[in-house]
Structures are given as C-alpha cells and as structure tokens.
C-alpha cells in the first residue's frame, strides 16, 4: 500500500487544464518535494487530495479513495493549505482543540502543548487568532495539520512569511516527525529546503509532471549541467590554454565555466604543466534550482 497514490488525475477550470494526467506514488516514510512555478498545478493537486476540488482520476490516501472512502482518507491526512485561514472567534488553544475534535481526537492537551511549543506559539496560546501576525497564523496552520498525528502530512508552502530562525526550527520538528514514520509531501519556493530535506522530488509544470525521481538520481543526472570552478593561484599566473574557459578574473581568483564536472581533471593537469601554484579551489555544482530550471526549459 502506498501512502499516497495518484493515478491519471485531470482537473480543469472551464477551458483551462490545471492538471493533465498526473500519476505518481508516495511511499510510506518518504519525504517528497513537489516543485513547480506559480500556477504549475501544485495547489490544484493538493486541493484534489484534500477533497476540496472536484477532479477526474483516482487518488488514494493510505489506501483509502478520497472520493468513495472520503472520511477514512481524511483521518489519515493532515494538510497545511497555502492560503492563510483562521477562525476569528477562537484563541490559538481553542482553534487546536476544535481542530482535534473535528478529527474525533479528545484529551490531547499534552500533544497540543507540545505542538504549540514546537511551532513557537506557546506565549500566544490564549491569544485570539486575529491578533497573530501572518507568520504566526501560518505556524498555527502547521499545528492544526498535526493535532491528529496523521500518517501523511502535506505542507503547501508552510514557511512562507516565517522568519529564518523559526523556519529552521519548524523544519527540525517536521524532520523529527518524518523520522518517527510520518510521510511528508512538501511544496515550497525555498529550493534549498527541498534539497536538504526531501529524498524524492517531483517537478510539475503547466499541469504535467516533467520529472520524478529520487534526489540522488536527479543530482547524478545534473553532471551534464554546467559547473563553475573558482581557482585561486599564488601569483596570478594561469595556463594560456584555459583562457577560453575563464568567465571572471578578480586578482588571483579565476572563475571558469565547465560544460560538466568531468572537465575538471584535465584542467588541473594543464595548470600543473604550466607550473601554476594553486592556493585554493572551490567547485560550484549545479544546485537544485539549476536542475529545476533546466527541466523547465526542456
């Protein structure tokens, strides 16, 4: 059984096709990054999983169909929606208590206290949600998705508007949940977060999947992407044969563009032959961002 099974999912708004035959599986224990530019279809897909979008195709959460077995599917799912939403009549604690009740969970004060502490809202626990800042409201939404300890957690841009320090702590908490066996699907604009956290990556564009594989596979494919290397020499000398590769020179520091990382060894050989003394070398491998942009342009 997959934690999430998405099979031939189509979604249209009038004549606009937001999702075009999307199929992929998320296995239990995966930490999956769902990447796409604005309007790519990420939120349409998440709304379909959440049961707040109509769609054609099949979606199953922990083996439960989100249409025919909707109640069981929802018990297994915790979603942080992208749009900021809050109940202006409730405090932080009441919001989480009510949210627990919606999932049939009672007597979970200890867990609510722990979640509130981990999302840094402890001092706001009795404050009305109206008084929270945007980042705090976002963190409350993260807490809401976790009150019933769902096996599958979907986070749609959970750290938008959250400051750097708290974002880091939030990811530590999510990683901890992942280590405890929760399956996580994440969309974010911070690609470094995906690079650091996720073991699988799915890229979608204009409603189509353009890449899906493990992070390791994606990175290994990226050896064909341009790499830059910064070489600092001791006296500013350099090999004449490499002039064409230099894209920037700042004093003794030379930045070279390589078509791929395999070119590095011959370059070092040429520098040795030219008797250039190297002080420092820094290789800039293609980032996930470079890989992502490369896929978008295919």
């Amino acid at each position: 059984m997959h934690a999430l099974e998405i099979k031939n999912v189509f979604k249209s708004y009038g004549t606009f096709r937001a999702l075009n035959d999307i199929s992929f599986n998320v296995e239990k224990g995966d930490f999956v990054g769902l990447l796409g530019v604005n309007g790519a279809g990420k939120t349409s897909l998440i709304s379909s999983i959440a049961g707040i979008n109509s769609f054609n195709g099949t979606i199953k959460v922990m083996g439960h169909d989100v249409i025919s077995d909707v109640v069981q599917a929802k018990y297994n799912l915790g979603i942080v929606p992208q749009e900021l939403a809050f109940d202006p009549f409730l405090t932080v604690y009441q919001t989480l208590k009510f949210q627990s009740g919606l999932y049939g969970v009672t007597n979970n004060k200890d867990w609510i206290d722990e979640v509130v502490e981990r999302v840094y809202l402890k001092d706001k626990i009795n404050s009305n949600t109206r008084s929270l800042s945007g980042g705090m409201k976002r963190r409350l939404m993260v807490a809401q998705a976790l009150v019933h300890k769902p096996p599958l957690i979907i986070l749609d841009e959970p750290t938008a508007g959250v400051d750097v320090e708290i974002r880091k702590s939030l990811w530590e908490f999510i990683t901890e949940l992942h280590n405890k066996g929760h399956t996580i699907l994440l969309t974010t604009h911070y690609l470094e977060e995906v690079e650091k956290l996720c073991n699988k990556i799915i890229m979608i564009d204009k409603g189509n999947i353009i890449a899906k594989s493990t992070k390791a596979e994606l990175v290994s494919q990226s050896s064909s992407l341009p790499t830059t290397v910064q070489i600092e020499t001791s006296n500013g000398e350099f090999s004449h044969e490499l002039e064409g590769k230099i894209i920037l020179r700042e004093g003794n520091l030379f930045t070279l563009k390589l078509d791929n990382s395999d070119e590095l060894l011959p370059i070092l050989n040429l520098l040795k032959i030219a008797n250039v003394k190297i002080n420092d070398i820094k290789i800039n491998h293609p980032s996930l961002e470079d890989i992502f942009i490369n896929y978008l342009h295919r």
């Binding site: 049961g51 707040i52 909707v70 109640v71 939403a85 949210q99 919606l102 999932y103 049939g104």
Partner: protein, 251 residues
C-alpha cells in the same frame, strides 16, 4: 459523531461569544416594538374574542426574532468562514457534507430558540401571554426556525459578498417576516389583500406559533403544520445539496 458534535459546539460558542449582539440585541428590539406598538395600538381590535393587541403581538415578536436570528446565524457564519477562509478546515475534516450541514442547521435553530426564550422572558409581562398548547408552540418553533436557518445557509452559501447577503436579507427575508401577521391579523383584511397575505409562507409559521399561545389561528392550523413541515424539508434538502455539491465553496 464526534466531528459533528464539535462543529455544532463551536458554532454555538461563536454566537454565544457575541451574546450582546446575538441575544440582548433582539430582546431590546422586541421590547421596543412591544412598548411602541403595544401601547399605541392597544385599542386596535384583533378580531379574536378575549385577546388584546398587546397579547396578540407577543408571539409574533418572539417568532420574528426567532426567524431573523436563525436566518442570520447560518448566513453570517458561512459567509464569514468563506471570507476568512477557515471553512477549509471543516471541508478537509473527516465529516460528511450531511453532518456539516446538520451542524450549521442545529446551531442556527439553537440560536433561534435561545433568542426566542429570551424575548419571551423580556416581553411576556406586557400582555400576560401564557402558552396554551406546548406541542403546537414547539412544533412551529423548531420547524419555523429550521426554515429560516435553511434559507440563511442557502444565502450564506450562494452569496459571494456581504452586500449580496445583506440584499437577500433586506429585500426578501425581512419584508416577508414583517408582513407575516406579526403586527396584524390577516383575517381582518378583505378580498384581494387577504389572499396576498396568505401567500406568504412565513405567515403559517407565525400563525401556528401564536396558536400555541392563544389557541386561535387565522389560517387552518393542520394545513399550516403540514405546509411548514414540508417547506422545512424542501428548503433544507436544497441547502444540503448545495453543501454536498460544494457550490461556491469547492472548486
């Protein structure tokens, strides 16, 4: 059932947390109506032997506030939830559309009943109006408020903006309620206007509820009971279908 109970409790908490607006306000309005109309029109014949105008007015004013508040609860709760986006938490929760609808409906009826009781306590001493048929009173109270609550939920679902909801309330609901025989006995009208008055569905709710107090109705009470019951079923079925299909709520 736990999700249903939680949603109902939260909805009741919502209107109780603003009790000055939702409970005290309607009682004050009813007292003012009773003071002004009850005293100024005290000599007006009701057409019913032994029933003064002040006594005639009391059940009408109670039901007026029951209907307005049942309508207002469902409509304002839904449109606020749509506006602040928090309806998404209910839509994502493991609760069926039927139970979502029931939770909003029950809480709206509860608000109607609480307001109705508070208004009764506030104005009964103006005319010494003591209930004569508890069955009739409760029947029209519950089914009458469920009609208004259902209409409120429908208005809350289909309205995209507050002014659309306000228009629905100001131009349809309020005129129908005010012209439903709260302040006058439609039986005293003659010919054409009497027929027009009896076309108003809210008239049968107020007439039946008043029957519970004074044991006298302007229209046939059995017909009124059947009509109100059927209308409550139809209105709330429509409301439920709108929630189930996610009209103006889901995409």
């Amino acid at each position: 059932m736990q999700p249903f109970i939680q949603l109902t409790k939260k909805e009741i908490y919502r209107f109780m947390s603003i009790w000055i607006q939702t409970i005290v306000g309607p009682v004050t309005t009813a007292i003012l109506y009773q003071l002004i109309f009850g005293s100024q029109l005290s000599k007006l014949p009701t057409g019913i032997a032994g029933v003064s105008y002040a006594t005639y007015l009391i059940p009408g004013l109670i039901m007026m506030q029951v209907l307005l508040n049942s309508f207002g609860n469902g409509s304002s709760s839904l449109i606020q939830s749509k506006y602040t986006g928090n309806i998404i938490f209910v839509l994502m929760a493991p609760i069926s559309p039927f139970l979502i609808y029931c939770a909003y409906l029950v809480s709206s009826i509860v608000r109607g009943i609480i307001v109705g009781f508070a208004v009764f306590v506030g104005i009964y001493w103006f005319g010494g109006c003591v209930p004569k048929s508890i069955t009739s009173l409760l029947f029209f109270l519950i089914f009458g408020s469920s009609i208004a609550a259902g209409l409120g939920l429908i208005a809350g679902i289909i309205s995209e903006k507050f002014d659309q909801l306000s228009g629905f309330q100001s131009f349809i609901i309020v005129p129908l309620i005010y012209l439903a025989g709260i302040f006058f006995n439609p039986h005293n009208f003659s010919g054409f206007w009497q027929h027009v008055a009896y076309l108003n569905p809210f008239l049968y709710i107020i007439d039946g509820f008043r029957y519970g107090f004074i044991a006298h109705s302007s229209a046939n009470i059995e017909f009124g009971a059947i009509f109100v019951f059927c209308l409550a079923i139809v209105i709330n079925y429509i409301g439920y279908m709108l929630i189930k299909k996610g009209i103006k709520i889901k995409h």
